[in-house]
Every structure is written in C-alpha cells, then in structure tokens.
C-alpha cells in the first residue's frame, strides 16, 4: 500500500484529503505544520508528500529545502498543494524538484485524486 503524507494546517482540508485518500486505498499520514511534517517524512518515508506552503513553524518551502538535503528526502515525490498562486513561490518550489504545483481552489478534487493516482502507479 502506497504511503502519502499530507502536510496541511487547515483541518477541513486535512480531514477531507485524509478521508478521500483513505477511500482510494492509500495509507495516509497527517502533519499540521512544517516541522512536524519534516520529522514525519524522514521517519515514515512516504511515497508522496502533499505539501502546503503557508504553514506554521516551518513554511512549506523551508521544509522542502530541508527535506532535499536528506539523502532519502532528496528523491521523494512532492506535490505542492497550496492556495498561493504567485510566480515567485512557484518558481522557487520548482527549484526543489517538485512534481506538481497545484492550486487547491483552482482545481477539482477529482483531478487531484487522478494526478496522485497517475503519479503513484
């Protein structure tokens, strides 16, 4: 069973994604801030990380930067899943080899689930 880590501080999002991904037969791990997310990622070593940008303690991009310094973390699949839709953040994230930059409010839940499915096949 593929393992997905969701790092998301907005509990409504977290809850919905957790349920939907569980329904889609993934093992789902939750983290509510960047720091917790980083620790959990390094210990649980998921197959995919869904990473928000605006996060308490450690922002999504800072977490990503730290993650990529780790031997395992360097290669793990990361989707940025945020409501931040600024070129600056997008291009910065792209520098850290993210697979997708997704804007939550701009896409359908269905499309997200499809993207994840395609990626983890």
């Amino acid at each position: 069973m593929k393992k997905i880590l969701i790092i998301e501080d907005e509990s409504a999002y977290l809850k919905l994604l957790h349920e939907q991904l569980t329904l889609a037969d993934y093992e789902v791990l939750d983290a509510e801030n960047g720091e917790e997310g980083l620790n959990l990622a390094l210990t649980a070593q998921p197959d995919l990380i869904l990473l928000d940008i605006l996060l308490p303690k450690l922002s999504g991009l800072e977490m990503l930067k730290a993650l990529r310094k780790n031997a395992w973390g360097e290669k793990v699949l990361v989707f940025i899943l945020s409501n931040v839709n600024e070129s600056k953040e997008i291009s910065e994230a792209m520098n850290y080899n993210v697979s997708k930059y997704l804007v939550k409010s701009e896409m359908k839940l269905e499309d997200l689930l499809m993207s994840i499915k395609v990626c983890l096949k």
Binding site: E10, L16, Q20, S87, S105, E106
Partner: protein, 756 residues
Amino acid sequence: MTSPTAANGQNLAKKGTIASVKKIAQQTFEVAVKLSEDFNFTPGQYIWLMLPKLKYPDPKGDRRAFSICSLPGKDNLITLIFRTSDSGYKRTLLELPKDSPVDVIGPFGFFALPKTNDKPLVFIAGGTGVTPVLSMLDFLTEHQSPQNVSLLLSNTSHERSFYLDRLEKIQKINRHFSFAHKIGQIDWDFIQNNTASKNNQCLWYIVGPQQMVIAVTKILLDHGVAADQLYFDQHFGFAGDGSFPQKAGEPMDLEGFKFAVDSSPNHIVVTDVNGVIKYANSIAEKITGFKVSEMIGETPRLWGGLMDKGFYENLWQTIKVKRQPFTAEIQNRRKSGELYVASLQISLLEQQGNLLGFVATEEDVSSRILLEQDLNNALLAAQNVLDDLEIEKNALLLANAKDTAMLASIGDGIVATDQNARVIFINEACEKLIGWKKEEVFGKSWIEVVPMDDEDGNTIPDDKRPIMQAISQRKTTTTTTTYYFTRKDKTRFPVTVTATPIILNGGVIGAIGIYRDITTEKEIDKAKSEFVSLASHQLRTPLGIIKWYLEALQNDNYFKNAPTDTRKYFDEIYSSTERVLSLVRDLLSVSRIDQGKVKNVPKPIFLTQTIEEIIDQMQIVARNKKVTLRLTIEDSVIPPITIDILRFHEAIENLITNALEYSLPESLVEVTLTKNDDTLLISVKDTGLGISKADLKLLFTKFFRSDEAIKHNPEGSGLGLYVVKSYVEGWGGKLAVQSEPGKGSTFTISLPIKQV
C-alpha cells in the same frame, strides 16, 4: 506820515538793561528793556537789540531786530515779544539776569500811523509781520481813536499764535477794529471780503516777509489801489535773520576798494549820495551797454526806472534814510532796449560816519532765471517721472510680493531653470522636499542636484528627465509611473513630476518643474493593495474548502440517490462558489498589478502548443454555450517566446472567456496566431454583442462594465480586461480592440518576438 526818527542821529546805539523776561505763551516770551535815556518812537517801529556777550555761539551774530510791542512814553521802557528758538542769541537773551546791560539800536521803520484819522486803515500782515501792527493797534485803542481799522492776517502754519489772543482782546475793547485770519496766501478775494470800505478811500499798510509783501502789493496795484495810498515794509521779524549791515563809523580803505572794483567780475557803479554816477567798471559797460563816459554824470535811471514807484521809494528809504544796504531783484533795460533782470545790491559808502555815496553792483540774472526756470521745469519733469516710477515700482513691488507669497504658499515643490537646466528659482516647498537650500542650488544643474530613478533604482538618463524633455522637445510631461528623487541626505522619496517649457518670444528659455512627494499616497495604495491581497488569500481557503466538500458530496452515493431538485441546488452552490473564486482571482491579479508585484518569471514556451492547450481546456465551456471555438495558425513557424506562462494563460483565457460570454449561440469564436517581422499577433474574434464607441474608451479601466455587458451578464467583475492589458503592457506588448455594436469584437495582443 511822520518822519522816521532814525534819520535824526548818527550814533543810534543806546544803553539799556533787562527789566524782565516773562513767558507769556507756549514758546513765547516777553522781554522788557529799560533804556537809560529818553527813547522816542512811534508805534510800528522796531529796534535792534545787541547783546554785549553771547553765552552760546550764534553764527548770525549778537544782534536781532524786534518790533516794539509797547507804546511810546512809558518811562523809556520798551517790551519785545518773540518766539523761542535754538539760536545761541535767543538762548543767551533768555538766560540774562535782570539788569544785564544791552544795547538798543534804533528805532527804525517808517511804518507809522497817519496824522489824520479820516481814512480807514487796512493792515495786511504776514506771519510775524503782525508785531508792528500790534503796537499801532494798541496805540489807537489806548487813545480811543474813532479810526476804522481792519487787519488781514495770513499765516503759513496752523499753529495758533499768541497774537491771536491779543487781537481778540483788542477787538473786544475797540469797536472800530476788525480782523480776519487766513492760512495760506492772501488773494484779492480775501482782501475784498474783509475790508468794509471802498478800496480807494483806505490807507494800506503791508508788512511781512519779502515775498508776501511783494505779492500783496502787486495784487493791490493791479486792482487799482493808488501807489500813494500804499505803505509797505519788509519785516525782519523776531526770527531776525538779517544781520546788521555794517557797523557805523568804521574807516574804509578806499585804495583797496578801487582795486577791488576794477578787478571785480561784477558790474559795479559808484554814485554820490544823490545817485549821480561817479565811476563804473568795464563789466557795468558790458551789462548795461552804456560806455563809462556815457554813464558818468547820469544816474542809474539811464538803464533803470522800470520798477514801480514804491520800489524806488523803498530803495531810497533803505539806503538813504535807514542807511542800510539794499538788495533786490530788479528789471532794467540795456542801451539796446533789451530788458534784463539783475540782482541789485547797494552798499553804503561811508567814511567816519559820513555818508559819501553808494556802491551798486548788478549781476545779470536773466540767464540765471531762465536757467532756473529750465532747471525747475527739468526738476518738475524729473519729479513727475520719479512719481510715475514710484507708482510703477510700488505696483511692481506689490505684484512681486503677491507672486512671492503665492509661490511660497504653494504646497508643491516648484523649480524654474534656465535653458541649461540650471536652477533660477526654487520655492520653499521644494527646498523642504529635496533638503537643499536655495543658495546651495542656484545656478546649479537641477539634474545633477537631484538624481532621479525608477521603481527598481535605475537612474533616469539626463535626456529622459522631464525637465530636459521640456527644454529640448518643448514637451509638457506629467509622470504616470512612479519615480524617485534622492534628497541631500541621500534618502529617496517617490515623486510625481510635471515639467513645462518656459517659452518667450517663441524660444524656450527654460523650464518649470512641479514636484509632489507621493510617499503617503504610495503608502495608502500599498496598504490598500495589501489588504485586498490578504483578504483574497484568506477568502480563498474557505472557498476552496467549500468547493472540494461540495465535490465530495456530489460524488457520494447519498447524493447520487437524491432527488433531481436537490442535485440542481448543489450544482448552483458549486457554480456560485466557482464565481466567487474567479472574482477573488481577478482581485488578486489587480492588487498584484497595483503593487507592481507582477513578477515576471519568464520561461521560453512554444506559443502554438500553449494556445492549443488553452483552447482544448475551454472547449467544454464553448460547447455548453453552443459556440464554435477555433484556432487558426497562419504562420507555419512561430518562434518560441520567453514569457511568464501563468500570466500568459490568464490573459488568453480571459479574452476567450469574454468572447464566449458575449457570443450568441451557433456563432464562431476564432483565435488566430500570426506573426509580422518582429511581432507576434494573437487575436480573439467574436461575432457577438460588440461594444459602443463610448464604452470602448473606458473598456480597460478597472471595474468598468458597460451597460450592455451588465444586462447580458450581471456577474462579471470588470477586472478581466484591465488585468490582460496590464500584463501585455508589462511584456512590452499592446492590446488593441476593434468593435462594432451588434457585429462583434476583435481583441488583438501584439508581442515583440524578442521577449525579455
């Protein structure tokens, strides 16, 4: 008329002592002098009072003339009245203790009352000339004379003189006396209005300063008063500026005198006591035109005699009777018949107290008088010019003061420069703005004093500075993008600039720059945009959550089994959520544009491919609208372009969404991609509603929506085209529109191929 007493004696000086000194009015004193011997005088005469030693120096000497104010026969006591002054003589006199010795010379003056009292008397007195009249009046009053007496008094100052009080007193006692007072010159009207008797039956006495006496005498003669009814005397007054002519009895050096006469540049004539010419010098020949030989044995009447009778009477009275020198301006006639005006001076030729004759000198002043007139005219003209200039100057000063005050009060910074952009004026607001004082910047290049750069800190080249453009291109510039000035202390501030050329006679002589610090405006704008940005971001999260939860619900089995109406309601909620999200997206874009935060993150993209993708995505919407959406690529080779793909998507999507929105069912929306030499053209054409001319002007304005558009679709934000235009211009491109109401619109984006 009585004979003047003064003619009797040779030695006129008499010993006297100060009997009293009294202050009788403001600045007015009465001095009484007791004479040691009999002193006979008639009312109206005057004396010279000589002080043995001056305590205070006085350039005018130790003697002054005073009218005798008291009446004759009072135990040889005479009183003199005078006003105080700063003169050394008067100060000395007032400080003299009782019984101090003084010398009294006189009495003088042929001014005396007539022996008969059958004719009314008219006294015309100017200023202090009233004093001899006063003693005559006192005399008449005391003797209860029935003689009618009028006094016409003129004064130059408004100050009420002490003698007015005395005159009023006399008037109360003497019913035959009346007087009139006038400030200023005496004229015929005044004389006529204040003399009851017929002019010819009166005797006239005129006394006062020389000019007044001359003027009044002339008026009377002109109005038919006979010369023998007229008595006049120039009054020395108690101001006493005439110095005593010559001390009696001093020996004369005749040899030296003759030498002086011969070598004198003046006309000099010597006569005996009867005026018979004994000698004349060569200058006299020149002025009169008569040879010395012709003159000798004659009297000066040879070339004179043109003045009125009174003049000569006065002349002879003065030199022969009073034994005083005579000075006057006189009109004479040369041998040629030509009239001339001369300044005449007659001195007494005395030896051992014996009168030998007279020395007369004449100075031809005709030319001087003409010159004086010319000079006066010139002065008058100059004065007029000066007055005009003064008025002009004051007007200019006032205008200048107004201008200065206005410029100083203007809140915007103002700088005026010459044609080399050197500062010639700077107002206070501008000094404060840039931190430089006017003295520091005058004459310096404005461009060098105040560096100007753009938002990113790039220095604006000199020739692109608004003030230079005003000078070199006569262009009035008002900046729309934000520029920054650097102050003296190196701090920067945002500024708006308006630069205008100063044009004089068709040439540019400089420029005027108007500057406003827009720091506050920028801050407010920034705060506003940041608020919008923050609010939008915050709105997005809950909206996104609603959106996904709705979606999750719609996919649920429960929902799939729900009644159709319920499912429709959910669809409505979903689409409304999408609309709010879209609005928030536009607001965010606008706030980014307004904050200048549209950070291009350009990447090379293949336009053909990108546009194909966008059109593919939008086909669903087009199908729902029953509109055909078609892409035409007119050029086979479209070069890759470097551009921010996110913004590019947004721009193209916006145009296509609009085209679809305002298209009618079964119509066509055509997207065309083509290229010129150096430009890529992307056009979106519809055959829909179209836009009116008036609306076209406002089409790209933030939040603008045409009435037609609102009617058709009440939900738009009015931000889409503003966003597209801002993006396109940010890429160095242009957004153009062609439209006709009812026929459709074509929006065309043109982009330079070499994208940065």
